[in-house]
């Protein structure tokens, strides 16, 4: 009798056991994900630095030179690997697409949260969701058959190039920025609007001077998210950008981006060769850029909540 009481007090209860099991399972899965991410970064990094370590490519040259030719070497016997055309291409399409998309996205978000939530929910919301759901190869296909001829006829050139990439990316990142901007504006408390109106602000003044300003951190996050998406988009861009590893002369001359070079050449190089390792360096650059975007987003979000 005495023993059984002691036993029940010292033994772990069923719920404690269950709790332990649950905790273990959660920890186990989390650990696997963390290991996966770390090994991914480690793998890409180890591959990506090969050309700098074993082929002695200068990292400054890699970032600033514009000739990309792994089988040719310079006077010191180092392969000619200048990624500047791709870097320029990636940044150009990203920034241009973001600059064009942001006003549209914010206007749509304002329309949906401030001006006509009913119509917004009925028409705009489904449209945005549809745009998100379209696969990127379809965007690329439309780009090739509609945007390219349009650019060719309007601006000249072959049509392939940064401008076509910008247009395609614009449509692709529009829903991302719009839906995140909507969330940002919805998060602006209603009482800010009332306070503005109560001192005689017009509806437009309320939107422009209070709602947009109070929602600014969220809007910035939305824009950076859109940029991250644009920077990482591969297939659709590759289909319309022309894939010439040359420094872009203008917006309608064929160019390339980090992602397009990767998708084009990954299958055409032999694992372990300099040409292949150079592609890993581009992948590493992409990874670092997306880490940078994430850091910026985290920073903005943190600054926004501190206020």
């Amino acid at each position: 009798m005495h023993d059984s009481i002691k036993e029940s007090l010292t033994m772990r209860s069923t719920s404690a056991k269950r709790e332990f099991r649950g905790k273990f399972l959660a920890m186990f899965c989390t650990t696997i994900i963390i290991i996966l991410v770390l090994s991914l970064i480690g793998f890409i990094a180890s591959k990506g630095i090969t050309i700098f370590v074993s082929d002695k490519v200068n990292i400054i040259d890699f970032l600033t030179h514009s000739i990309w030719s792994a089988d040719k070497t310079d006077s010191q016997g180092r392969p000619l690997l200048g990624a500047l055309p791709m870097i320029m291409g990636s940044f150009s399409v990203t920034f241009l697409a973001t600059i064009i998309a942001t006003p549209f996205a914010i206007a749509a978000a304002v329309f949906m949260t401030e001006i006509s939530p009913k119509l917004g929910k009925k028409v705009l919301q489904p449209v945005i969701e549809l745009l998100v759901g379209i696969p990127s190869v379809v965007y690329g296909f439309i780009g090739v058959s509609v945007v390219i001829p349009f650019v060719r006829n309007t601006f000249g050139g072959s049509g392939f190039g940064i401008l076509a990439g910008t247009f395609v990316l614009f449509v692709m990142i529009l829903p991302t920025i719009t839906s995140m901007s909507i969330d940002a504006l919805k998060a602006v408390p209603r009482h800010y609007r009332e306070a503005a109106l109560a001192v005689g602000a017009t509806r437009w003044q309320t939107i422009s001077r209070v709602v947009l300003r109070a929602g600014a951190p969220g809007l910035f996050t939305a824009v950076v998210f859109g940029m991250a998406r644009a920077f990482g988009e591969a297939l659709a861009v590759q289909m319309v950008i022309g894939n010439a590893m040359l420094l872009p002369q203008n917006l309608v001359s064929p160019a390339s981006t980090l992602t397009s070079v990767l998708t084009m050449n990954m299958g055409n190089t032999v694992m372990g060769t300099t040409a292949n390792n150079a592609l890993w360096s581009l992948a590493l650059l992409l990874l670092l850029m997306s880490l940078l975007f994430n850091t910026v987003i985290k920073y903005i979000a943190k600054k926004g909540t501190l206020k």
């Binding site: 408390p189 009482h191 800010y192 609007r193 009332e194 306070a195 503005a196 109106l197 109560a198 001192v199 005689g200 602000a201 017009t202 003044q205 001077r209 209070v210 300003r213 109070a214 206020k307």
Partner: protein
């Protein structure tokens, strides 16, 4: 009372969809007085307050009938400019709601949207408004810091300063002290007593002691009807209506 009628509501009905929230309210408010609206929750006193600067326009499915005359002009006339109206009839809310900007930007907001950009004018308005709202000494050294960093009571007084800066004729206050601690509340009350020299104040309050302390005139609302309105002394000492007496003596509500 010798003071002149500044605001006169007659037979105001308000419907949220089918539900009648105000059932024919007629009430006069006098210049440089504090009118307190009291009554149990859901009796329509806040709703009535919000009809006075047409804040209820923002809520869909609201229908309002009746007249509200401000200086003799019906504010529900079709040609009323609600933006101008709200400059004349400012509003302070239950929860302190400063914008997430600096104190300076909060107070000057109403002036800037009215197109005033002269720095000297703005600076002066900030000082006089914050002084009138009895918060100048608390914030004069941190005008460029975020208003959200202030305490609740200070925030509420900054919000009041934001309204005063526009120089309205009437200030509506919707339970301005209900979210504040007793010390902050008494500061706000003292400030309201000061403010009535220059402004007409209409305030909603749940706190009967507050109504008796600060108001000149008290209106008792119940179930969307105005039961009784009179000088505060009379309402509290000698109410004519049985329901008013029951409410202020704490028999219900």
């Amino acid at each position: 009372m010798a003071n002149k009628t500044i605001l006169s509501a007659s037979d105001v009905h308000l419907f949220y969809g089918q539900k009648e929230a105000l059932k024919g309210v007629s009430l006069d408010c006098y210049e440089n007085e504090i009118t307190a609206l009291i009554g149990p929750s859901g009796c329509g006193k806040s709703t009535f307050l919000r009809t006075l600067n047409r804040m209820n326009d923002l809520i869909p499915n609201v229908t309002i009938t009746g007249n509200i005359l401000l200086d003799g002009k019906n504010i529900y006339a079709p040609n009323t400019d609600t933006v101008e109206l709200r400059k004349q009839v400012g509003m302070v809310f239950q929860q302190p709601n400063p914008f997430p900007f600096s104190i300076y930007d909060n107070v000057t907001f109403g002036l800037k949207i009215a197109g005033i950009t002269d720095r000297a004018v703005l600076d002066e308005a900030v000082e006089t408004s914050l002084k009138a709202a009895a918060v100048w000494d608390d914030v004069k050294d941190k005008l460029n810091e975020s208003a959200l960093a202030l305490s609740g009571g200070q925030q509420q007084r900054v919000c009041i300063a934001r309204v005063i800066a526009v120089k309205p004729d009437i200030i509506l206050m919707d339970e301005p002290t209900s979210a504040l601690d007793p010390i902050s509340s008494s500061k706000v009350e003292n400030m309201m007593m000061e403010l009535k020299q220059d402004y007409t104040i209409i305030t909603v309050t749940h706190n009967m002691q507050q109504a008796s302390r600060i108001s000149d005139r008290t209106a008792f609302f119940l179930n969307g009807e105005l039961i009784e309105v009179d000088e505060t002394k009379k309402i509290f000492l000698d109410p004519k209506n049985k329901q008013t007496e029951d409410y202020i003596s704490g028999k219900f509500g």
